[in-house]
C-alpha cells in the first residue's frame, strides 16, 4: 500500500456558496428552514403573533399567555411521542401507529386510580405519583407487547401495532367501566396546566425534563450506537455480541414510557378523558415529526433533536393557522399543503436534482 495519501486536504477558507451548500445538506436544514419561514411569515403578517403577556387565569394565578407559549405548551405530547418514535423507527425500520390509542390507555389507568372507581372526585383517591407510575408501567407493558410482535415474531411494525391501534381505545374505556370520570382536584391539573406561582405551563417543564433525560441517556449509555447498529444491520450486530431482538423490544418499551407521560399530560389538561377523541391522529403527526427531522423512516441512523424540532414545527404551523382563523375543519387541508412541500423538499431525490440544477447553472455562468 502506498503510505502517502493523495487526497488534498482542503483549507478552511470556504466560500459563501460552499457554506450554504453544506448548510442545505445538513440533516436539520429542513426543520430549521421551516421554522425560520414560519417565524418570518408571522413577523411580516402580524408581529403581534409573538406578543407574550402576563394575565391572570381563572384561578387567579398570574400566567404567561401568547402564541409562542401556546406552541411550546401544546407541542409537549407530540415532542414526547416523536422522541420515542425516533428510537422505534431507528431500531425496527417501522413505526408504531398505536401511540394515540396507547395514550388513551395510559390516561385511563391514571384517571381510574385517581378516581378510585368513582365518576367524579374532588380529591384524589390515590397518590398522584403512584397513579402516574402505574400508568407508565401499564403503557410500557403494552409497548413490550408491540415490541415482542415486531422483534420476536417479526411482524411488520405497522401491522403489529395496528392491533393496539384498533383495540386500544376500547381497552381504555373498559378500564373505567365505560364511564367518563371527572377529576376536580386542582392538583391533578397541575401537570397539564400551571402550578400556582409559576407562570410557565407545566408541560413545557416536563418536556424539557424528558429531553434532558434522553440527552443524558444518549450520552452516558450506548442506546444510540446499539439502536442504530441494529437498525442498519441486525445480522452484523448479532455477530458483534448484540441482541437485536432485545434492543428492538427495548425501544418499544421506551416509547411506551414516553406515551404514558404524554397521556398523563393530556388527561391532566382537562381532568377528564374522552376515549374516542383523546390524542386522535397524533400518531401520524408523530411519524411526520420523525420524517421532518430528516430521519429515514426505513430505520438506521437517527437524530433525535431533528424529530423534536419537527414536532415543534408541526405545532407552530397548527397554531399559526388557528391564529388566522382557519376553520378547524379546513385545518388539515392547509397542513397537508405545507407538509407536502416540506416532505418533497426533504426527499433525497429532489435534493439531488436541486444540487444538480445549481451546479449546471453555475457552469452556464462560467461559460458565459
Amino acid at each position: 500500500m502506498t503510505t502517502e495519501t493523495k487526497t488534498p486536504v482542503k483549507k478552511k477558507s470556504r466560500s459563501v456558496g460552499e457554506v450554504l451548500k453544506n448548510m442545505t445538506r445538513h440533516q436539520l436544514f429542513i426543520p430549521v428552514a421551516a421554522l425560520v419561514l414560519l417565524v418570518l411569515f408571522n413577523l411580516i403578517a402580524d408581529p403581534s403573533f409573538f406578543a407574550v403577556s402576563l394575565k391572570e387565569n381563572s384561578l387567579g394565578n398570574p400566567v404567561l399567555s401568547g402564541n409562542i407559549i401556546s406552541v411550546l405548551d401544546n407541542a409537549s405530547e407530540l415532542v414526547l411521542l416523536a422522541i420515542g418514535m425516533t428510537l422505534v423507527t431507528a431500531s425496527s425500520g417501522g413505526q408504531d401507529i398505536s401511540v394515540g390509542a396507547a395514550m388513551a390507555i395510559a390516561g385511563s389507568v391514571i384517571i381510574r386510580l385517581v378516581c378510585g372507581g368513582r365518576v367524579s372526585v374532588d380529591t384524589m383517591q390515590t397518590s398522584l405519583i403512584l397513579a402516574v407510575l402505574a400508568g407508565i408501567g401499564v403503557s410500557m407493558l403494552f409497548g413490550a407487547f408491540n415490541g415482542v410482535l415486531v422483534a420476536y415474531l417479526k411482524i411488520q411494525p405497522m401491522v403489529a401495532t395496528l392491533i393496539l391501534f384498533t383495540a386500544g381505545r376500547s381497552i381504555a374505556a373498559w378500564i373505567n367501566n365505560n364511564q367518563l370520570p371527572i377529576v376536580n382536584d386542582q392538583v391533578f391539573k397541575y401537570a397539564g396546566t400551571f402550578i400556582p406561582g409559576i407562570p410557565i405551563p407545566t408541560p413545557v417543564f416536563i418536556t424539557i425534563l424528558v429531553i434532558l433525560a434522553f440527552w443524558l441517556a444518549l450520552k452516558f449509555t450506548n442506546l444510540g450506537l446499539y439502536t442504530q447498529s441494529v437498525g442498519i444491520n441486525a445480522n452484523a450486530s448479532r455477530l458483534n455480541g448484540l441482541d437485536p431482538k432485545m434492543i428492538k423490544l427495548l425501544t418499544y418499551v421506551i416509547l411506551g414510557a414516553c406515551v404514558a407521560v404524554a397521556g398523563f399530560i393530556r388527561v391532566s389538561r382537562s381532568g377528564s378523558i374522552n376515549y374516542s377523541r383523546i390524542a386522535e391522529n397524533i400518531e401520524m403527526d408523530a411519524i411526520l415529526a420523525v420524517a421532518l427531522g430528516g430521519n429515514a423512516l426505513g430505520g438506521g441512523k437517527f437524530n433525535i433533536y431533528g424529530s423534536i424540532l419537527g414536532a415543534y414545527v408541526i405545532q407552530f404551523l397548527t397554531t399559526t393557522l388557528f391564529k388566522y382563523n382557519v376553520p378547524s375543519t379546513a385545518l388539515p387541508a392547509y397542513k397537508a399543503v405545507v407538509i407536502i412541500l416540506l416532505v418533497v423538499l426533504s426527499a433525497p431525490v429532489v435534493r439531488e436534482k436541486m444540487s444538480h440544477i445549481k451546479k449546471s447553472s453555475k457552469r452556464a455562468k462560467e461559460v458565459a
Binding site: 487526497t7 450506548n222 442504530q228 444491520n233 452484523a236 455477530l239 458483534n240 455480541g241 441482541d243 441512523k301
Partner: protein
C-alpha cells in the same frame, strides 16, 4: 478510432469531493477480445465502469463507439444499453421470482402486450445457442448463481451488445461454474463481442484475457498484451512496488506454535443448527490452522459453530482446558474469540455508521451498555488502527460503506484486533479485495501468530491457505474428511483429500 476497436475512452476524469477518482484515463477495447481491467481497490476500476455505463456523469473526456462518428453521450445505464454496452454485475440484478425468459425480456417489450409464446421461444433459442443449462419457463431463483449470471449475459447478448462488461462475475462461483462461464465468454468472443472483465483473481485473468489494462490511484498505468506480462510484474504494477516475501515470515512463525501445550480452544463433537456433522477441533497458542473444502462443504458453518453464530446443538468446548458454554457470539467474545464473517456486507459492516463506530463496536459491546467510550477515546482507538492497518479513509467519521471493499475489510479486522483476542477466526478475509490487501492480511495473520495469538484462516484460494496455515482441516459434504500438516501440506494432497481419494 483505432483499427478494430469497438470502444475507446479518451482522457476520462472524474472528481469526487476531495478525491480525484479518475485522472485522464484512456482505455481501448477491440472487437472479439477479453480485456481485463485490473487494479487495487480504490484504483478507479468501478468508477471507470460507472462513467462508461452512465451511472456517474464523467467530468472530462470522451467516449467513442464503433459506428458512431461523434463521441457518444451516455447519461444513464439505459443510454448505455441502447448503444450496445451491457453490464453484468457481481450481484445479480435480475428478478429472482420471474422466469428466465421474463428476465431476459423485461423492460424491452414494445407496446403493452407481451407475446409469451414468442418470448419463450426466443429465449429458448438464445439459451440453446449459448449452451446455457436453463429452461425459459424456469423460475430464475431455481437456477444456480452461475446460471443466473449466464442468463444476465444472455439478456445482454440478445440486446445486441457490442461491449459486455463483467464486473467481478466469478467471485461467488465455484470452479466448475467458472469454467462454464469462461466457455460462454469464449463463445461471445468468437461472435466479435468485446468483453471488459473486472476481477481480483489472477489465475482467471491469465486463463481468459487477451489484454490487461492496469489502473492505480485513479491513473492509467498501462495497457499490456497478456503474453508479455508475467504475473509478478502485473502485481507489482498494480501495487506500484515489489511484493514482500511471505514465505520467510512463515518459517519464523512455524516454531512459535507449541503443539504439546493445552489447546487454547478444544471442541468435541460440536454440532450446530446449520446442519454440519459433529466435528472435533482444537487450536494451540500461536498456531494458524484453516478449514478447506469446496464452496458449501461446511467450512463456514464449522467456525460459526465455534463462535456461537449459529445455534449450537451439541458438543463440548474447552477454553484453556476449562469447560465453557458458548451459546451466542457474546459468550465467545468474552472468551477472547473474534470472528470475521464470510459475507462482509451482510454480516460484517454496519453500513451507514462511521468507520470509528464500526471499529469500536465489538469492544464497546463487551464493555457494556452503560459504559460507552468517550468520543476522544473512540477516536484514539479508530485513529490507531486506521494508521496501523493503513485504512484509506477521509476520516474516522466517514461512513464505512463509502470505503472500498478492501478497506472495509480492514475495518472489520481492526474491530477484532481492538478486542485483543486470544483466538481470531477469519472466514474469507481476502474475498473480493485487492491483491495488495490480500498480502497484507496474510502477513498480519502470521504476525499475530508470532505474537502468540491463535488464528483460524479460511480462504477459497488454496495458495493463501498454504502460505499461512500450518494445519489444514479438509471438509467435504458438511463433514471433516481429513487433516493435513507438515509434509502433506501441498496443493495435490489438498485436492485429492477434497476429491475423496485416500491415496494420491
Amino acid at each position: 478510432m483505432q483499427e478494430g476497436a469497438v470502444l475507446e475512452l479518451r482522457g476520462i476524469s472524474k472528481f469526487f469531493p476531495g478525491v480525484k477518482a479518475l485522472q485522464n484515463v484512456d482505455f481501448t477495447l477491440r472487437a472479439g477480445e477479453v480485456h481485463a481491467l485490473m487494479g487495487e481497490n480504490g484504483a478507479g476500476k468501478s468508477t471507470l465502469i460507472k462513467c462508461l455505463t452512465g451511472v456517474y456523469p464523467k467530468d472530462e473526456g470522451e467516449i467513442y463507439m464503433a459506428g458512431h462518428d461523434k463521441p457518444v453521450t451516455i447519461r444513464s445505464p439505459q443510454d448505455a444499453q441502447n448503444i450496445g454496452i451491457s453490464t453484468v454485475y457481481q450481484e445479480i440484478t435480475l428478478c429472482p421470482n420471474l422466469t428466465v425468459a421474463e428476465n431476459m425480456y423485461i423492460g424491452r417489450t414494445k407496446g403493452n402486450l407481451t407475446r409469451w409464446k414468442r418470448m419463450n421461444k426466443g429465449a429458448g433459442k438464445i439459451l440453446k445457442d449459448l449452451g446455457i443449462p436453463a429452461a425459459p419457463g424456469q423460475q430464475l431463483s431455481s437456477c444456480s448463481i452461475a446460471v443466473q449470471q449466464m442468463v444476465a449475459i444472455a439478456r445482454a447478448v440478445d440486446m445486441d451488445c457490442k461491449v459486455l462488461i463483467l464486473d467481478e462475475p466469478t467471485s461467488s462461483l465455484d470452479e466448475s461454474e467458472v469454467a462454464k462461464l469462461f466457455k460462454l465468454m469464449r463463445d461471445l468472443k468468437a461472435r466479435g463481442v468485446g468483453i471488459i472483465f473486472v476481477t481480483h483473481f489472477l489465475d482467471q485473468v491469465y486463463e481468459i484475457s487477451d489484454r490487461i489494462t492496469v489502473l492505480r490511484d485513479g491513473q492509467l498505468v498501462g495497457e499490456y498484451v497478456i503474453e508479455d506480462m508475467p504475473r509478478v510484474q502485473l502485481v507489482s504494477k498494480m501495487l506500484g512496488k515489489e511484493l514482500g516475501d511471505i514465505s520467510d515470515i512463515k518459517k519464523a512463525s512455524d516454531k512459535a506454535a507449541d503443539m504439546t501445550s493445552v489447546p487454547v480452544l478444544e471442541a468435541e463433537q460440536l454440532a450446530s443448527a446449520a446442519g454440519i456433522k459433529p466435528f472435533d477441533f482444537s487450536i494451540h497458542k500461536g498456531e494458524v490452522n484453516g478449514f478447506t473444502g469446496l464452496l458449501g462443504s461446511g467450512r463456514s458453518e464449522c467456525v460459526r459453530a465455534i463462535f456461537g453464530a449459529d445455534r449450537v446443538s451439541g458438543g463440548t468446548v474447552k477454553v484453556n482446558g476449562k469447560s465453557v458454554k458458548i451459546r451466542k457470539p457474546l459468550d465467545a467474545m468474552k472468551q477472547g474469540i473474534g470472528y470475521l464473517p464470510e459475507d462482509r456486507k451482510l454480516d460484517g459492516i454496519i453500513g451507514d455508521l462511521s468507520v470509528r463506530d464500526n471499529i469500536i463496536l465489538a469492544l464497546q459491546v463487551m464493555k457494556g451498555f452503560f459504559r460507552p467510550f468517550s468520543r476522544a477515546q473512540a477516536e484514539a482507538f479508530a485513529d490507531e488502527y486506521i494508521k496501523k492497518l493503513e485504512i484509506k479513509t477521509a476520516s474516522s467519521d466517514t461512513p464505512i460503506n463509502s470505503l472500498s471493499g478492501g478497506n472495509q475489510q480492514k475495518c472489520i479486522v481492526a474491530r477484532w484486533l481492538l478486542t485483543d483476542p486470544v483466538y481470531l477466526i477469519l472466514d474469507e478475509p481476502t474475498r473480493g479485495i485487492d491483491v495488495g490487501t490480500k498480502t497484507e492480511i496474510q502477513k498480519l495473520v502470521l504476525e499475530l501468530a508470532g505474537e502468540g495469538k491463535s488464528v483460524t484462516f479460511i480462504s477459497s484460494e488454496t495458495d493463501e491457505m498454504l502460505n499461512t496455515c500450518s494445519r489444514l482441516i479438509v471438509m467435504r459434504d458438511r463433514k471433516v474428511v481429513g487433516e493435513l500438516k507438515g509434509e502433506d501440506l501441498n496443493q495435490d494432497m489438498i485436492m485429492s483429500t477434497i476429491a475423496g481419494g485416500e491415496a494420491q
